[in-house]
């Protein structure tokens, strides 16, 4: 599968004259080691001497950030015998090398691309999108090539995850352009769709010139098979019927900027032009060349916004504070905090061949990342030198609950894991929008919007907390015989050991002596020991610590 994606990218780029250099972004040796870059970043950020979090906290933090799930209880136990940064460095290396890293990075992008869409049909693209990103990262495909795949895709949405961004934007040139810019450059160029950008320099004309690269693309339903599918289709013919009711099944030869004064008129034809480089392609250019050209331009090492966007995004996700106030708040009028550190990390990231694993290694090696995390309650961006407590994403909550009783049993309990298969009814909630699956419902319960996946938030909701406290998911988890340490097995000599085991499973740490006593007291107060243990686990699952990574 991987070779198909990568092969296709190369096939396209090597065919276009003048773009061969861009195709040559295979990972190359960086000039400096990971630790050297991390040290330099800490020097620039002033975090070199920040107090480091303890190893047990760090293990849980890194485990969520790099693998999307809590650490195994056995790993916590092992680490308890070893102090110092070496153990953490080793753990981080193993996590980034694991398939879980690629998997959690893929889920992050699934959420960033597909959440907050008005139609829940976008869920069709979830599985293929995750496959594409996961396989690309596992095979060390650079971020530039991954993004070019999204920009140049065509064909079946169900078969090829590269189609996901265009599909999510319904194949409409304006929406595709807006999403490509927002997701991969961090620039909200679509604010210039109807008028010149209110808070930046971009003009309405520049927005529609970007849309013009995607004019020949459309989405049409594919009814040929027995499954539901859509096709990202290309039309290079000059004959293209206009759609009805804004439904557009066939691409148009050229994009026209609507005439705001006279909406009934056709509007001015736009020459595809990239607002960053101001390069363009001629009218009449074939779709393949048009999109390959913008893909190469947008992901080029010369385009500073492309590396800044992903560096700021991953930094914000891992550390908490960001270089910019929002992952899509970049632009010529928005100043970055700590620009020297940003520039250093961007340059080294480009030199690494846009290597996502390298980026994760460097960020998690900094003291900025490893320091004691600050409260998430600030209402301004604390900046890149501050680590912030982060509430778990819906996926991470899912994995945490799953870890309590083991993935296999959890899968049986809720019936499958993929995004489309889990009904919201299992969570016992009905939520608005696209939330008909677990992965859709949980983020909506715990977060205001997908944007929160990329930042820090302490927000949960009343329905979300009710789901944990009273919902069938947690009730069934507690009632499952595998969740609780056995009251008959010889493995646990007494309730104190059972309480310890519950803490390790849920919070990746042992209780304090006072917490252990409180738990034992509550158990003694219960009708049966099993009920008492269930209540201990309930109190931890519904508590603050279970829902955050510190």
């Amino acid at each position: 599968m991987k070779n198909i994606y990568v092969g296709a990218c190369f096939a396209i780029f090597t065919m276009i004259p003048g773009l061969a250099r861009c195709a040559d972004t295979q990972p190359t040796a960086t000039t400096r080691s990971v630790s050297a870059v991390a040290t330099e970043l800490d020097r620039l950020l002033g975090t070199a001497t920040a107090q480091s979090a303890d190893n047990v906290t760090l293990l849980r933090r890194m485990s969520f950030d790099l693998t999307g799930r809590p650490p195994a209880a056995s790993d916590v136990r092992d680490l308890a015998f070893e102090n110092g940064p070496e153990a953490i460095a080793r753990a981080s290396e193993q996590m980034i090398a694991s398939s879980d890293f690629a998997d959690s990075f893929a889920r992050y992008w699934r959420n960033a691309i597909l959440s907050d869409r008005s139609s829940n049909r976008v869920n069709l693209a979830a599985g293929p999108l995750e496959d594409y990103v996961r396989q690309s990262v596992e095979n060390s495909v650079g971020w530039d090539l991954i993004v070019r795949g999204f920009m140049t895709a065509q064909g079946s949405v169900a078969d090829d995850g590269r189609t996901a961004v265009i599909f999510a934007a319904e194949g409409k040139p304006e929406d595709v352009a807006a999403d490509m810019s927002r997701l991969f450059l961090g620039i909200q160029i679509q604010c210039a769709q109807c008028h010149d950008h209110p808070t930046d320099v971009w003009t309405r004309q520049q927005f529609h010139q970007l849309a013009a690269y995607f004019s020949r693309v459309a989405i049409r339903p594919d009814r040929s098979g027995d499954r539901r599918d859509f096709i990202v289709s290309v039309n290079d013919s000059p004959f293209a019927p206009r759609g009805q009711n804004d439904n557009r099944y066939v691409g148009q030869p050229e994009h026209r900027m609507p005439d705001l004064e006279h909406p009934d008129r056709d509007g001015e034809v736009m020459t595809p032009t990239f607002f960053v480089s101001t390069n363009n392609v001629e009218l009449g250019t074939m779709d393949r060349v048009r999109r390959a050209t913008i893909a190469a331009e947008l992901t080029s090492a010369d385009n500073v916004w492309f590396s800044r966007a992903i560096v700021n995004r991953m930094w914000t996700h891992y550390v908490g504070g960001g270089f910019y106030d929002a992952v899509d708040g970049l632009g010529s009028k928005y100043e970055a905090q700590q620009p020297a550190a940003l520039e250093l990390l961007c340059n080294e990231f480009v030199a690494s061949g846009f290597d996502i694993k390298w980026l994760a290694s460097v960020i998690t090696a900094t003291r900025a990342y490893r320091q004691v995390a600050a409260s998430a309650s600030s209402d301004t961006n604390p900046g890149p030198s501050v680590a912030v407590v982060r509430r778990l994403s819906g996926d991470e909550m899912y994995e945490s609950l799953s870890a309590v009783i083991g993935a296999q049993s959890f899968g049986q309990l809720i019936g499958g894991r993929a995004m489309n298969r889990e009904p919201a009814a299992m969570a016992g909630v009905g939520m608005s929008g696209m939330g008909d699956s677990y992965a859709g419902v949980l983020p909506r319960l715990f977060f205001a919007t997908a944007a929160d996946l990329e930042g820090t938030t302490t927000e949960a909701s009343v329905p979300g907390v009710l789901m944990l406290m009273n919902g069938p998911l947690v009730s069934r988890t507690l009632a499952s015989p595998i969740s609780l340490p056995s009251t008959t097995s010889r493995r646990y000599v007494d309730d104190a050991r059972r309480v310890d085991a519950i803490y390790l499973k849920t919070l990746s740490r042992l209780p304090t002596p006072e917490q252990r006593d409180a738990a034992l007291e509550s158990i003694a107060d219960s009708d049966t020991a099993v009920q008492g243990l269930e209540d201990v686990m309930w109190s931890l699952i519904c508590g603050t610590e279970f829902g955050v990574r510190q």
């Binding site: 009711n245 804004d246 106030d325 899509d328 209402d379 009905g430 909701s461 917490q515 509550s522």
Partner: protein, 416 residues
């Protein structure tokens, strides 16, 4: 004055009960706090999911299936399947000239709920979230934005109403009631109350005894809010079996009737926004019969809701709005259905200062065009906000970007 300080302080006030911690920094809303909660104004949105035919409801024409009947208002006729609503037409302000450009269900549902076309990367708050933000009182145990799924099926065109609260925050997300005859999800205790209390005691103890302060404030307060809701006597507000049988009969026994009755109970208890969803209006086939069946579900409950609110002295402060995402085509297709038609459709309002007994706007004889007083979606939303005393020009700052409650439009003066 420093706007951020103002924001912090007012947030603290607003979150004493719905304390979900402070807003994340990139969603910080530098806007004035709710000032008008004391107005006591409320809104019930009767949302017709799928896009109802204007021809077989409130704008009958020569080609309409079924007859038209006279109403309380001279010269104004409704479809014959709406006799009860015809009987309260003196309280209704009907707009027959609403239009948009969105002909796909999810996009049009989004537009009608927010005033914005959908755009990747963020959600615009829906009407209910703005109303809840502006009109909720901090001491209510009942969430301020409730959405009741009340029959007709949900299949029509995907989506289930509006997109939620977006940057306004989860406090204003709709609490969805999937069945008006049952309490909201997860509000029944899975264990007896003694044991639930023991669990809560242990949870509180764990938080106090945690080895280091967990830098994520607000969660415990949220647990307290949620548990006070499930332990609250006010949870009974959701229990329509409390109502005398005369009331149950007046609203009818259908799901939509139960939904309207529950909506009345909720606004009476002070809930600022309730949306009652009646689905299945997407009549691409057999439009005449299907619309007639849906009108039967709609007619008595909606009319009785207006009368009941009036009798209780609540109609002056409660705005009732009836709308769907678009209308249906003048042309009947080969399957006896009507297709999507956003170019001209009907919406009505009643209560809260709205002048009833009038029709605003007019469509051509075949219904294909607006020939008088076109009303854009944002004109409509601004009219709703004006009735409720909410400033539609208020700007939210989402990160660095300003976002108005309603970006464009002018309220329709004649409504009042």
């Amino acid at each position: 004055m420093n706007t951020l300080q103002l924001n912090r302080r007012t947030l603290l006030t607003a979150t004493t009960v719905f304390a979900a911690g402070s807003l994340p920094w990139h969603h910080a809303l530098r806007a004035a706090a709710p000032q008008i909660a004391a107005s006591g104004k409320r809104c019930i949105l009767l949302w017709m999911q799928g896009g109802p035919s204007q021809f077989e409801t409130f704008d009958p024409k020569g080609h309409t299936e079924g007859k038209a009947i006279a109403t309380q208002v001279a010269g104004v006729r409704f479809a014959e399947s709406l006799p009860q609503l015809a009987g309260v037409s003196d309280r209704i302000c009907l707009m027959r000239s609403v239009f948009s450009r969105e002909g796909s269900h999810p996009r049009a549902q989004y537009l009608m709920h927010t005033g914005y076309a959908p755009m990747g990367g963020g959600t615009h708050p829906e009407i209910g979230a703005h109303v809840a933000w502006g009109l909720s009182s901090p001491d209510s145990e009942i969430p301020p934005n409730i959405r009741i799924q009340a029959g007709g099926g949900r299949g029509a065109g995907g989506g289930q109403g509006g997109p939620g609260a977006g940057p306004l925050g989860v406090r204003y997300e709709p609490l969805v009631v999937n069945d008006p005859a049952s309490p909201p999800a997860n509000t029944s205790l899975p264990v007896n109350e003694d044991r639930f209390q023991r669990r809560l005691r242990l949870l509180r103890a764990n938080e106090t005894l945690a080895p280091a302060a967990i830098n994520a404030p607000g969660h415990l307060a949220l647990v307290e809010t949620a548990s006070s809701l499930v332990l609250s006597p006010r949870l009974k507000t959701f229990d329509i079996s409390d109502e005398p049988s005369s009331q149950r009969e007046a609203y009818g026994t259908g799901k939509f009737g139960e939904g309207c009755l529950l909506a009345r109970r909720l606004v009476e208890a002070g809930t600022p926004f309730v949306e009652v969803v009646l689905g299945n209006w997407d009549t691409h086939e057999d439009n005449g019969n299907r619309t007639s069946v849906l009108c039967d579900e709609l007619d008595r409950p909606a009319a009785n809701l207006i009368l009941d609110l009036d009798q209780r002295g609540l109609l002056d402060s409660t705005l009732v709005v009836w709308m769907g995402e678009f209308g249906r085509s003048p042309k009947v297709n080969g399957r006896g259905g009507r297709d999507h038609f956003p170019r001209a459709f009907s919406v009505w309002m009643a209560g809260c200062g709205v002048r009833g007994g009038q029709v605003i706007g007019k469509t051509s004889d075949d219904g294909s065009e607006i020939i008088d007083r076109p009303i854009a979606v944002n004109d409509l939303l601004r009219t709703i906000y004006r009735a409720l005393g909410i400033d539609a020009n208020r700007e939210l700052h989402v990160g660095t970007r300003p976002l108005k409650v309603a970006d464009t439009g002018t309220a329709v003066d004649e409504v009042f």
